[in-house]
Symmetry: C2
Subunit: 229 residues, 2 copies
Amino acid sequence: MSHTYEYPRPALTVDCVVFGLDEDDLKVLLIKRGVEPFAGRWALPGGFVRMDESLDEAARRELEEESGIRPAHLEQLYTFGAPGRDPRGRVVTVAYFALVKLTDHRPHAATDAREAAWFSVWDTPKLAFDHAEILGTALQRLKGKVRYQPIGFELLPPKFTLTQLQRLYEIVLERPLDKRNFRKKILAMDLLEELDEVEQDVSHRAARLYRFDHRKYKQLEKAGFNFEL
Amino acid sequence: MSHTYEYPRPALTVDCVVFGLDEDDLKVLLIKRGVEPFAGRWALPGGFVRMDESLDEAARRELEEESGIRPAHLEQLYTFGAPGRDPRGRVVTVAYFALVKLTDHRPHAATDAREAAWFSVWDTPKLAFDHAEILGTALQRLKGKVRYQPIGFELLPPKFTLTQLQRLYEIVLERPLDKRNFRKKILAMDLLEELDEVEQDVSHRAARLYRFDHRKYKQLEKAGFNFEL
DNA sequence: CCAAAAGTGTTTCACTTACACCCATGA
DNA sequence: TCATGGGTGTAAGTGAAACACTTTTGG
């Protein structure tokens, strides 16, 4: 039937909030806009959804095109559709939330002409559109989700120390954690594989390396286990 | 600039999953479709987003138009946009999740011509489009959220007994709860106002009525209190 | 007086929290 | 040998879970 075509349609885009962890700071990926509106302003990577691709595919495609990044974790965040949010007219955007290992995606020029860079989430430049609100929503989601889903590991290299892991949680949750209690709890879950390796090139006692066991987590999850920190 | 207008656009709709509690059963509101595609099938209430309204407004408007319902609680659920989900062409839908007091919205004919009815969420007819998937996602959200946000009260009449409240949680969570522990915990939160009234017309000892104190909750929430059951 | 649901406390156990010192390594 | 972070255990307190009988009311 033809109802589908009777009405004018909003434009539909996707935007991605990509988080990365840089030593002691949580970073977000931004792209410098080259054209109006908001030319010269920093914005979230994103773009128009094509007619033949799913929303997830659109998010991945845009992210790869604008930054070369293929995130380990990508999930839909929220859809923003206030009538005035884009000065060009009605544009609804499906926002995504992604986590990457910064070690794999060091600051580099985008594959197309645009400039891409990592910014501390606590100190971003003024953003285009309603992207500050989207970033805020993504941060909330990250803070909430990191505690009951083991997604934090996607921010770390495959092999990491317990101190790195603890720092990650302290940075995201914005509060200090007790070292002994943290280690006790995370090790008790039996989700970390203890490696026969230690970190390299430190000028003090080298810490043991661990790896997150995705396989074991999936098993435990099925059996009703709940990750919680 | 004109990028906005260079691409063909998907159509954009909203769909609402409206839950209600009927004695001992969780219900969802469905509308019988009058036209193709899926004419005669039951579907979630919803329709096209207009150019001058927000997504939330669209959801409320469609719900009111199709069923006369103005929900106490409405929140965005998830956006579904798989290319094949609507046989008419590319239609992306922003799904919403709503809770109503069934006592206020007894089964009745819709204001426009379509037939509307409440169905047990565990036993719905075959649904149009991908609405079964949307319903599943909404149920998951309800189950998850009811435990750490006091939204369950939106399903009950303003004055309710502790047994009613407990039944609500048992139905939504699909597991039995211990009466004494439940009462202890919920009362300890100090969010229920104990009324000087009891339920009427029961053929046994009448239970005391309580009311949820929204004001007090908002205060405690600001002070860092976390509802959790 | 019987049926039906309301209402009420205590104990046990598990988990969370707080807390401080010695160890290994490289400079 | 010093500076730096790595690594470890215990005690006290708090909250969750298990559990059964008496009370009230209407029929």
